[in-house]
Symmetry: C2
Subunit: 193 residues, 2 copies
């Protein structure tokens, strides 16, 4: 018995990844994606508002999980630390077992400006949601924005490494490393040190 059965959204994403890789994002239609997944166009549009969204099936789950972890974190924990801890939990729980798919997805997005634009929007929405949660914990809005932005930047850097060919370290490990690099970069600046 299979341990895990992909649901419609994951099947559609897998089909889209194959097709975008074979024939490009532009030349692939929603009808082709649905057909390759053995589903109907109607099912596609029940799950996604447009062709780009099919590669962002985890975005809202990630955002909910990160915000939930920050909310559950002890108030005494400083803002950046609270966000990094949340991203670490999400790295283990949502990303680590999906490395192969994430790597293919990353390559397809990198090759297409429209998909990159959507990804930038998702990162900005995640940053805003994190900043709002930090603000709810009592952070002033400017600090909340900077702490959220710094954490998402570290996450992006870690994600880039994690999906690089030959890289075997976990996303959690690479995230800590990116945060440490940020510490070095910022402490070398005469204004901050």
């Amino acid at each position: 018995m299979p341990r895990w059965k992909p649901d419609a959204a994951e099947r559609l994403q897998a089909a889209a990844l194959e097709l975008f890789d074979e024939q490009g994002f532009e030349s692939t239609t929603v009808a082709e994606i649905a057909q390759r997944a053995g589903l109907t166009q109607r099912t596609f549009f029940n799950h996604f508002t447009d062709k780009r969204e099919v590669l962002f099936i985890l975005s809202s789950e990630i955002q909910r999980a990160v915000v939930g972890e920050i909310a559950a974190c002890d108030d005494a924990v400083p803002p950046l630390d609270a966000v990094v801890r949340a991203l670490e939990v999400v790295a283990d729980g949502l990303f680590e077992e999906r490395r192969a798919v994430a790597t293919r997805r990353h390559a397809v997005i990198a090759a297409n400006p429209e998909l990159q634009e959507r990804e930038l929007g998702k990162n900005a929405a995640l940053t805003d949601a994190i900043a709002a949660e930090l603000h709810a914990r009592g952070c002033d809005p400017d600090t909340a924005f900077l702490a959220a932005g710094t954490a998402v930047l570290a996450q992006q850097a870690a994600f880039q490494r994690w999906t690089r060919p030959g890289e075997t370290r976990t996303l959690r490990h690479l995230l800590s490393e990116a945060v440490r690099s940020l510490g070095t970069i910022v402490s070398e600046d005469p204004v901050t040190s």
Copy 2:
């Protein structure tokens, strides 16, 4: 004699800002923008590829100036410091005298998802260009990406404050303040401190 005569691009941007503010981005046509500016649609498309670009007339000039300043900076200057110095020069030279227009522009962009998306794309392009220049100076790619991203994040935070009603401090001042806040945020993190 007027000290400064707006060129076609600036006239088109001023007209677009008025119209987007009066009737919204969606319901404004390129023909209306050109007419309001006393110019032709053809002139509009000589300057801009689409309706969104009219609000980004300085983007390529900013990018060129920032990259040029980094390239001219002494190699011994650490990466984040080199970028912040460049952003300070550009803040004084390109932004400070345009505060009123920048504030109206910022409000119009904030009210429109399509314009926000384009702005995210411009910030990402600026980050990539800065990272490429840091890499050319001998920075490893991961450090270059993180230093560029950190500086652009500080610039965004400073810009948000600078365009806030009642704020009178210069963009240069607010940029230094944002970089200092980043230093505090990062040094509070147990991984980096």
